[in-house]
Symmetry: C2
Subunit: 383 residues, 2 copies
């Protein structure tokens, strides 16, 4: 279905491009979001330290929650009885849920992975749990999210090529089963590619998944400890493997530099704990030649300037660096709150700038500027 | 000086009464506040979990900070260099600072109390510190607060009458010294009465202090572990000892019931950590026959209602009890943030209601209703 302005009433609409960088929008029954975009992470149904009104003010258009965590607590039945994930979280815009595969495989409580699914122990009480591709989608539909991710196997780092291929084949079968498990027409389902750093496996994953009517395609298994250069290399050949008329989502990425790099390769959607996690530990992203600072550093103790004079967030409008430094030194929770909000605002303003630059055909200049700025200031995403 | 509408340009204006309950306002060079009123506590320059914009939205008109804590970290020089306490905290309304006497005496790191002042060790690094009445005022003026409290000695519980009298006499001399130490005409200085549960000592304190041109009179040494009935008894005879044309401040009190009781005796101003501290631990004050609830209680797990349907705060407008219960169960910081904001909103709405009822001559009905509601729901203020 096509609306009068040429946008679909559901799913992805590609509106323009600048080089490989794309601009578009994605519609759900709970509203649409522009792309490229970034999803604040609300793992357990709350973006840490930031309420929904502030999240809107920061410019967020879509929020991410985690299936694994919400499945264990409070459980999808509870979320459903409390009115569904939107009513539950107070976020009335689009919500995407990670399937939980990454968490289950990274938490290392795996007992057994079989064709049927994965058996593991809860990290909370050790209870034996079993998750299948079908159940993962069931849970996400019971939560009531707008976009569900398929369950995939995230192979351990350092796995050999033969095992990686075997794992990938199962992940591809799981993806098809996930899509078949969808019951609600309003649930968008996104596929996930794996294949490590192997161009042919990545391509095989993309082409196999493209045979199915997924609503979007995600790149999984990156930003999991590999070198930045390795990730950039995968992006350089793999993004174009994905169908051009569908949204492309790079999971768990990353720094502002990573995001701009991935957009330059044609990625549309991102999520990362970095802005909130870094904020809780006193790191602030700023629009400056020094792209991130640690507010706990003593050089900020007497600094009367705001974190970032160009930022319209609450933290920058009301408080000095000296005050924020004080909050962290004495352990006041307002410090993490304000830096989390600031960092989210920074990320979401960057996404808006990216969209503007693509529209104006000036994305290359932004890309160049970002690479220059981050050259000596690498930062790692901790998971 | 009297303004056209009959209100003074600085200090207290009594505007009306209903029985012993009074209504008025207090003007400072950073704005005025209505009385009776409640001051949210920002011990270290931050009301825990609540930013200044939300504090305004909650209805706060004046904030309290703590001299002892800000003296040790970040130090009054730092606050001054960062533009003073208003610029520092982002709170541009009136600010009152507790002198630090209560903290120093309750932290029990006292080495020596003499006529000159008190020598003690910092609770942070054990450094030897000395605070005199003059220095306490100096620090408060360097911070740049609107209202400074005198330094008083807070005698230990269970002290004998003779020692209590001796302590009181010194506290009265310290009060006069504090007032004499004032250098800025814009700093209001409030005296503090002590005297434990002894009517004659309390009266002696009030009458001695009333000989000096203090801008307000506070009742100290209550809500420090004595029974509620004992505190109410002191209020029944002591409030009227204080000058009628000056503001009366009951320090560190208390529950909504305590506040209404004290207003009925003629008290105008309050502060207490209860709304934020209780909120951080999951306790919410609500407008109901059950005046406070513990949101962590499992009976709220599936509760779709807001904390308090009559409350306009962010927590009540956007979230269900079931969601708030979940936030506390999984340890998300948004839970303490939202309950702190809700409880402050509850307290500040109560103060507005008290002022309305006094204006309408209907305070007695509110007082009766509050006593009835709290009869079976006592709650203690922890310090």
């Amino acid at each position: 279905m096509t609306l009068q302005n040429g946008e679909k009433s559901s799913g992805f609409t590609l509106r323009g491009a600048d080089g490989k960088a794309r601009m578009g929008s994605f519609a759900t029954s709970n509203g649409r979001f522009d792309t490229p975009n970034f999803m604040p992470v609300g793992t357990r149904g709350s973006v840490k330290g930031v309420d929904c009104e502030r999240l809107h003010e920061a410019g967020a258009q879509i929020m991410l929650v985690n299936t694994y965590h919400l499945w264990l607590r409070p459980g999808p039945e509870t979320v459903e009885r409390l009115g569904g994930i939107h009513k539950f979280t107070g976020w009335n815009g689009p919500i995407l849920s990670d399937s939980g595969g990454f968490q289950i495989f990274s938490l290392r409580h795996i007992r057994k992975v079989s064709e049927e699914g994965v058996e593991f122990r809860s990290h909370i009480d050790g209870a034996l749990c079993f998750l299948s591709p079908e159940l993962a989608v069931d849970i996400q539909e019971q939560l009531g999210v707008d976009i569900a991710m398929v369950l995939d196997e995230c192979p351990a780092a350092g796995i050999g090529r033969a095992d990686l291929e075997k794992s990938l084949e199962m992940t591809l079968r799981w993806a098809a089963r996930s899509l078949n498990a969808r019951k609600k027409s309003t649930t968008s389902v996104f596929a996930i590619t794996q294949g490590g750093l192997h161009p042919d496996l990545r391509r095989r994953a993309a082409h196999a998944l493209a045979q199915h009517p997924f609503d979007g395609f995600a790149i999984g298994g990156l930003s999991v400890g590999e070198k930045k250069e390795s990730m950039y290399e995968v992006l350089s050949y793999h993004v174009k493997d994905l169908p051009g008329h569908k949204i492309r989502y790079l999971m768990g990425v990353g720094t502002p530099e990573d995001i701009v790099q991935a957009v330059s390769e044609g990625v549309d959607l991102f999520d990362c704990v970095m802005p909130t996690r870094a904020g809780r530990f006193g790191r602030a992203f700023i629009d400056s030649d020094e792209p991130h600072i640690n507010i706990k550093n003593s050089r900020f103790a007497l600094d009367r300037e705001p974190l970032d004079g160009s930022c319209p967030c609450l933290a920058c409008l009301n408080y000095s660096r000296g005050y924020l430094h004080h909050l962290f030194k004495v352990g006041e929770m307002l410090g993490p709150q304000l830096l989390s909000l600031h960092n989210l605002t920074h990320y979401l303003r960057l996404m808006a700038e990216i969209r503007e630059k693509i529209t104006a055909g000036e994305f290359a200049a932004l890309h160049k500027e970002m690479r220059k700025r981050w050259k000596n200031f690498e930062l790692e995403v901790e998971k």
